[in-house]
Symmetry: C2
DNA sequence: GTCTATATTGTGATAGAC
DNA sequence: GTCTATCACAATATAGAC
């Protein structure tokens, strides 16, 4: 039962987020969503017709949330160094506080890869423009001529994977909640340092 | 219908791997596994009693496969540089050819985190020993005093995430199968270089 | 060991009263 | 808009013949 001060439709969507995020499409039950929203099961169908539509709404919301912030940071006026620092600290903390989100999205992309292009347009995302932007900025500010695509994937990997692998870290190393929180906080400084160190290493190869 | 030259039990396990890896526990159907193995649905229950047991067998096999190779490489006699190169090239290629595997395992860990410790013992894995090993070797060979845990997670992140995010890469950038294969091949050299560059950057900070 | 038949429960979805 | 009742079918699991 979440956020009682809102319309029924909103309460259902919030409940659906909670259930879909943690259990995925196949694991989620319409009954559980209804219970979570504090409404009758029929009402869920009344507002969203079927499970697929409801899932689509939840997925789009999750995807847009993550992409909007990514866009905002990478197309801002900051220096590249600052973009990396801002991006990492924002995403590592945000994702660690919403740890089901990245795995939910990755699973959703495997299950429904075809919807992706529509979502990209909806979010005004142009991947190629982003790549050009990164290449140009890295060249001008760091004097490095490097493949922006691998850099981009590396940034995402180092930000997202540690959250996706949360149960692995928690159980293999027996981290408590406090230790885990400390680990994620450390990463907001360790990871940007790691990436910028790596980039500086290329200066010797292609720098003037 | 896979590998007809084997016992029924083996054929069922192989079929179960195929179905569970791509659809997860909740998405998998006992009927589909039976069809895939070319046997009657009852036989699946005869050999594995229920869905949970069958899943457990599949999960353990997947987990052990990945961990055995990781152990073998990181506890070998190689130099640290060589370990990283060997690990990345092996895992990136192996995972890209079995692209459902990492997401399957990450999902499984979220769903059944309690089984993890048993699996670790079964595979003779000692995470702390691995951390000591990395810290010692990085200190002696690269003359750097660095937190081995973040390094370890970074190595895993850069190897595993690009495979987990395959549909994202494929659809956002419109990569063909050939381009995707080329991308993964590139990473076998780009990623070790990236990591070693990053590590070298620490020399200035803590080097003698 | 392998099959057919069936029990049993779960689940998405709809009809219709209020 | 919201509820009760119910349909139709899917899915795990078992009983029992061969």
């Amino acid at each position: 039962m979440l956020t009682p001060n809102s319309t029924t439709e909103e309460r259902i969507l919030e409940a659906a987020k909670k259930v879909f995020h943690s259990k995925g499409f196949d694991g989620a039950r319409m009954q559980e969503i209804a219970d979570e929203a504090g409404v009758n099961k029929s009402l869920v169908h009344y507002y969203y017709r079927n499970k697929d539509n409801l899932f689509k709404a939840v997925f789009e919301a999750a995807f847009s949330t993550l992409m909007a912030k990514l866009n905002e940071i990478f197309f801002s006026d900051r220096a590249f160094t600052s973009k990396i620092e801002t991006f990492i600290s924002y995403y590592v903390i945000f994702l660690s506080q919403n740890s089901y989100l990245p795995l939910f999205i990755l699973n959703g992309l495997y299950e429904k890869p075809d919807q992706l292009k529509l979502l990209l347009e909806k979010n005004h995302l142009s991947p190629n423009r982003l790549m050009d932007q990164i290449r140009k900025q890295v060249r001008e500010e760091l004097n490095i001529d490097v493949d922006p695509f691998h850099i981009y994937i590396n940034i995402l990997a180092l930000s997202i994977f540690p959250v996706v692998a949360k149960p692995l870290i928690q159980n293999i190393f027996g981290f408590s909640d406090e230790q885990l929180q400390k680990f994620y906080t450390e990463r907001t400084t360790v990871v940007p340092e790691f990436i910028l160190n790596a980039l500086k290493g290329y200066e010797n190869i292609t720098g003037s």
